[in-house]
């Protein structure tokens, strides 16, 4: 006989405002098997949980239904309370009367009636619950970090410092990411390379870190604690074990005019190249699209001059499988292409550049050696206009969000420009200044008060080139209430931050959610900011949302802490929602083997004592099964059932709904 307790939560006003919780509790008291039914303001609070525990002990309850929020929110909370009171946690179920009821309905009477029905269904299910034991699976204590920018490097270093192995996968030839391209960093103006490159070297030389550069994730199998990731190691055409990075090859390569991605197209690289002199590893790759040897079979100069015979034109992409227990995604960002901003020249005006191009102009290691020269003719611009929110906060361009970092880097750009060109004029068009970090507001004030940047509050309507070559910037000063026209020698657009191309595909491989812009979704915006909906996959840096360096580093360390926490347990407990096959009924049609998305169903040979095979049936691997129920649905002989969601339970719920 079931002895069930029903606990109805008001969730403060969240449920209580729309649902008459006392009436729901009173109705539930009359359901079959229910011996105790109460309502309370905050069931998840300590007194609320104590009520449940006390009732389980005093009334010897055999099952509990909590009518409250989504099980995603608090199922774990209530189940652990039940376990503390000695009840098997899987005998506690939640009826979602918040997201599925009070939040989506306005009519109090109808919402209350619906809440009663939701509780009735869950009572019917709970009456048929069986005690379950969590599945234990071993953990592979190696982490994979995807993305070798500052966030990925930080996460890798922190995990390695915790004594665990890390595989750092980077798609480019070198680690370092965007930070390696920056000149100086706000709000302290320390040189970006000076603080980054030692970390790059540390990551490369750390005994616990294995670098896989020029590599991409191709496929993912497995689950938390036991991922098997297939990495595509792109053909470098240079054997990194033989190469010493002497540079003879790239100095002799005749392809001299390839725009350098690292220098935002302002500098040139060769077909065999390292992206920048401080690259880690400092070993070149050959750009197969640009190499005449690979395209037409002519040249081969690099192979001839290499003293170590490291160049191998026959190199091909290779796939390598890596077993890891946790993954940190740190794939970062890229700038939105202002080519679709027709009113700012649509990318056709040479002297209208983006923030990265300005960083390279201002960088001591950049194509101009740190001198501010405009791209069209190399002249020093005497008037520079900086335009913030280029794409950001522009619903018409489909980017309603704030890119967060532009206010600060634009202030830095204006400052650096004034430091380098003393008689130059820097005008910044802004909508709002969002300087909310430590020392940030002071930094922006410094740009205005000490360095003479002219800040004008208003958006720019149009930028065009006059006959004499000067750029006309038509903006507004909304505080003065009038249009403003500035003649400029160069314009720097603070293009919006967006996730890296291909980030959606990677999210799909790992089962991680993403928003409409492609930013990865955290498991909870406040309380689980580095976890994802996929267990064992964590987030670091701008792949989740626009972030500056301090934020990206902080989140990377948080992701590392989560990874180390996961690795601190020798075994993981997993939800025992597992499919079971009734071997007596299985006809071995193999429909389940073919349809299981996780490859968890395999053939099993039933043998007699002598060892001869009696018959072959399907069997579910508990470690791989995710409890999705696909096999249950396709099974023709109805011989598969799902623990915790049996056919009997679901049919009873449907029957209860029909009877009502």
């Amino acid at each position: 006989m079931s002895r069930l307790g029903v606990f109805v939560c008001h969730c403060g006003e969240n449920i209580g405002r729309t649902v008459d919780c006392a009436a729901v509790a009173a109705a539930a008291a009359r359901f079959p098997g229910v011996v105790h039914s109460v309502d309370y303001k905050y069931m998840c609070s300590d007194p609320g949980q104590s009520m449940i525990k006390k009732a389980i002990a005093d009334l010897k309850l055999t099952g509990v239904v909590v009518a409250a929020c989504s099980p995603r929110m608090h199922e774990r909370t209530f189940r652990s309370a039940a376990a503390q009171a000695g009840l098997n946690p899987y005998l506690l179920e939640m009826a979602n009367v918040r997201e599925h009821c009070s939040w989506v309905h306005a009519d109090r009477a109808a919402a209350t009636a619906k809440a009663v029905e939701l509780v009735r269904l869950m009572v019917e299910k709970t009456r048929r619950d069986r005690a379950l034991r969590p599945v234990r699976v071993p953990v592979e204590p190696t982490a994979m970090v995807v993305g070798g920018g500052i966030a990925g490097i930080q996460a890798a270093l922190d995990i390695a410092a915790g004594g665990k192995k890390v595989v750092l996968v980077e798609s480019g030839p070198s680690i370092g990411g965007h930070m390696a391209r920056l000149s100086e960093t706000f709000p302290t103006l320390d040189c970006s390379q000076c603080i980054l490159t030692p970390r790059m070297v540390e990551a490369a030389s750390h005994p616990n870190i294995r670098l896989m550069t020029y590599a991409e994730v191709a496929a993912v199998e497995g689950f938390v604690g036991n991922f098997e990731v297939t990495v595509r190691r792109k053909a470098r055409f240079v054997d990194p074990d033989k190469c010493t990075g002497c540079g003879d090859c790239w100095n002799r390569c005749p392809q001299k005019r390839i725009p350098s991605e690292f220098d935002a197209g302002l500098g040139a690289r060769r077909a065999i190249y390292v992206p920048f002199p401080q690259a880690v590893p400092n070993k070149p790759v050959i750009d197969a699209e640009r190499c005449t040897m690979l395209k037409q079979g002519k040249c081969g100069l690099c192979a001839k001059v290499c003293p170590r015979g490291a160049v191998d034109f026959k190199d091909r992409d290779r796939l390598e499988k890596v077993k890891v227990g946790a993954v940190v995604l740190a794939t970062g960002f890229e700038l939105w292409d202002h080519a679709s901003y027709g009113e700012y020249g649509g990318g056709r005006l040479a002297d209208v550049i983006d923030g990265f191009a300005f960083e390279r102009l201002a960088s001591a290691s950049g194509p101009t050696g740190g001198a501010i020269k405009r791209p069209s003719d190399g002249a020093e611009p005497k008037t520079v206009v900086f335009i913030q929110c280029c794409g950001s906060r522009d619903e018409k361009k489909g980017l309603p969000y704030c890119s967060k970092i532009c206010c600060m880097y634009t202030a830095k750009h204006a400052m650096l420009y004034r430091h380098k060109v003393h008689d130059g004029e820097a005008t910044v068009f802004y909508m709002d200044i969002r300087a909310t970090g430590k020392g940030y507001e002071e930094f922006v004030r410094r740009a205005i008060d000490n360095d003479g940047a002219r800040y004008v509050r208003g958006r720019v309507s149009r930028v065009y080139r006059r006959q004499d070559g000067r750029l006309v910037v038509k903006g507004a000063d909304t505080l003065a209430g009038r249009p403003v026209t500035v003649l400029a020698d160069m314009v720097v657009l603070a293009d919006a931050v967006r996730p890296r191309r291909g980030s959606e595909r990677l999210a799909q491989l790992f089962g991680v959610g993403y928003d409409q812009h492609g930013f990865y979704s955290e498991a909870h915006p406040k309380l689980r900011p580095v976890e994802t909906a996929a267990a064992g996959v964590f987030l670091a840096g701008a792949c989740q949302a626009p972030k500056d360096i301090p934020d990206a580093v902080a989140q990377a360390s948080a992701a590392a802490a989560k990874t180390l926490g996961l690795f601190s347990q020798p075994q993981l407990e997993r939800e025992p929602v597992i499919a079971r096959v009734n071997r007596n009924l299985c006809s071995h049609c193999r429909s389940c083997v073919h349809t299981c998305p996780y490859g968890a169903v395999k053939d099993f040979e039933v043998k007699d004592r002598a060892g001869s095979v009696l018959k072959v049936v399907a069997e579910v691997n508990e470690g791989l099964c995710q409890g999705c129920g696909t096999c249950v649905a396709v099974c023709r002989s109805h011989c598969i059932d799902l623990d915790g969601f049996t056919d009997e339970q679901i049919h009873a719920q449907i029957a209860a709904l029909e009877a009502a």
């Binding site: 009113e343 929110c389 906060r393 522009d394 619903e395 018409k396 361009k397 909508m431 509050r457 208003g458 958006r459 720019v460 309507s461 149009r462 038509k474 903006g475 507004a476 000063d477 909304t478 209430g481 009038r482 249009p483 403003v484």
Partner: protein, 186 residues
């Protein structure tokens, strides 16, 4: 369309122009691109702001402003608004209110006279006809001598036909005008 003078201006603009002015976040891109902003006593972004406040004084200032009559209707503001609002339609709605409540700015009256002369020409001939347009404008604005010096040359080249051209569908055009007047009264 029975908005009295006490009704909220933002609601009146929403009903007349289909624009929710409260969505404007004051970036100023409308002002930045406006070719007439220099001649306005209120910049386009200020027009949007004053339409948001709900303050009776702001409403009065808007309806009595010259700015709403300066708009040339080029729609650059509407084209570039990042919030996909339509400032030009807002200005149109304000003009209608201003005229109905008799608050047209003294300098705006000449511009209104031009609009009215244009509409009268369309109503009666079915098209824009130079002589009725110019004649009525001069009559209603009181500015008889403006641009008079070019008239002989234009006459000589046949640019000012003394008998206006008319179109076939004048009856239908007139019915449109009548329908609009009926709607305005309702």
């Amino acid at each position: 369309m029975s908005q009295g003078p006490d009704a909220d201006l933002a609601d009146a603009v929403r009903d007349a122009a289909g624009v929710r002015v409260e969505r404007c976040y004051q970036c100023g891109k409308c002002t930045a691109g406006c070719p007439m902003a220099r001649h306005m006593d209120l910049a386009p972004n200020q027009i949007m702001r004053l339409a948001q406040t709900g303050d009776p004084g702001d409403r009065e200032a808007l309806l009595r402003s010259l700015a709403i009559w300066c708009c040339a209707g080029c729609l650059t503001c509407t084209q570039r608004c990042p919030r996909e609002l339509d400032p030009a339609a807002v200005i149109d709605a304000l003009r209608e209110l201003s005229r109905r409540e008799g608050k047209v700015s003294p300098r705006g009256r000449r511009i209104l006279a031009f609009h009215e002369a244009f509409l009268a020409s369309v109503e009666h001939t079915g098209r824009m006809s130079e002589v009725p347009l110019v004649g009525l404008y001069k009559l209603w604005s009181g500015d008889i001598f403006q641009d008079l010096a070019v008239a002989p040359a234009m006459l000589a080249r046949g640019k000012l036909p003394l008998i206006p051209h008319v179109i076939k569908g004048r009856t239908e055009i007139r019915r449109i005008f009548e329908a609009c007047r009926a709607k305005e009264k309702a």
